[in-house]
Symmetry: C2
Subunit: 237 residues, 2 copies
Amino acid sequence: MAYKSLYSACGMMPQEDGFTTPALPSLCKEAVNSASSFLGHASLHPCFAEEEEEEDRAASALRIHSQAEKRRRERINARLSTLRRMIPEANKMDKASLLGKVIEQVKDLKRKAVDISKGFTIPSETNEVTVESKGGCEITTYIEASICCDDRPDLLADLIQAFQGLRVTAVRADMISLGGRVRNVFILCKKDSQQGGVCMTSLEDSIKEVLARIASSDVVSGKRQRLMQSQYSNISF
Amino acid sequence: MAYKSLYSACGMMPQEDGFTTPALPSLCKEAVNSASSFLGHASLHPCFAEEEEEEDRAASALRIHSQAEKRRRERINARLSTLRRMIPEANKMDKASLLGKVIEQVKDLKRKAVDISKGFTIPSETNEVTVESKGGCEITTYIEASICCDDRPDLLADLIQAFQGLRVTAVRADMISLGGRVRNVFILCKKDSQQGGVCMTSLEDSIKEVLARIASSDVVSGKRQRLMQSQYSNISF
DNA sequence: CATCACACGTGACTC
DNA sequence: TGAGTCACGTGTGAT
């Protein structure tokens, strides 16, 4: 009975959904016609006569099935084209390549978001100093230096003075203060382009040493009351 | 001739790829057998005899075609699976719903990234000062103040001093310096909890005035050479 | 029972 | 022409 499936409901072909579909004329109607005429030609067997009444039901079931499947395809393809609209220059790409680009995008956005919000972590209770060399471009290299310590009015001035003394300049700085504690993250690079003058690791060590000294010099009393005074701290991904 | 497509190469069914496929047995072989036997029954037409030799080629063409199509499906589904792995709790979702979630994720990440990097826009050529009251929580209100001007060594010190004079404190600060220009964004709140002491709009006006004065006081010569010294500036979405 | 979602094979089209 | 992509209809299992 499998050839019965050739009696599909190709009678209606909506096909007026032109968003990305190349509007195939779907020549299966001819196929059905030729096959049915051939079978009609071979309908000399009387054993096929009593199946006429259930063919209608089967045919209508197949028709609504194919319509549902078409709707499903349209749903998926609609999502796919809005996704294609969101990805730069993905207008003429395979579905697979498009999805690959989407994966890349999501990974990239997540990584960027984490990178950006790295310096936004809430200041911790313990003093912390990290110095880390970042890649940078081929001309200059960058150093990411972070310090987490008690806040005080002249902390920033001390840091600036320290950077000037080390002949590095901050091209990027993030500071978040919360209840007496502060966390600063700087992206530093060498001041004048005296590349290769001093060893990179020794410069990092110097920065680390200076920052540690600044962090531990709490002039004011150690602990102040901690109050959640900033809504800008809970950036979660 | 469309029924010729029933002679497909269902003889080999690899089907050993089980990652997500429920391993359908693909009963089209029965369909082919029944159909072919039926056609064999009706092969009383001698005009079908000379087509035997080209049926092999057509069959093999169909086989490699279906194999290629299977590979294509596998590629798409592999991307879909990795995408499903990246979206939280999308393990049991339709393809369409999964793609919807992906769209949502991408939009959300882009929006968050833009929100975060709002203060991180590259310093512009013209001086700009904006002061804007942000919502904050019910206890304190925040003021977002940004200044874009020429960079100079004591700019930060001037700003800090100005904020101290206005009795506001920065709970959050972003600074980006690019080629002699700098853009600073501060989230300010009143220093000691003297709420309602001064009118909010007059405080904003004072901040704006002070920042404008600081921005326009270029002690050094106006234009320095602009060099692209930071990779952290071109955050594009 | 119907409905839904999936994989499959196939015809049409493009490069 | 041959490899690759797409939409389509269909069979099938799950809910």
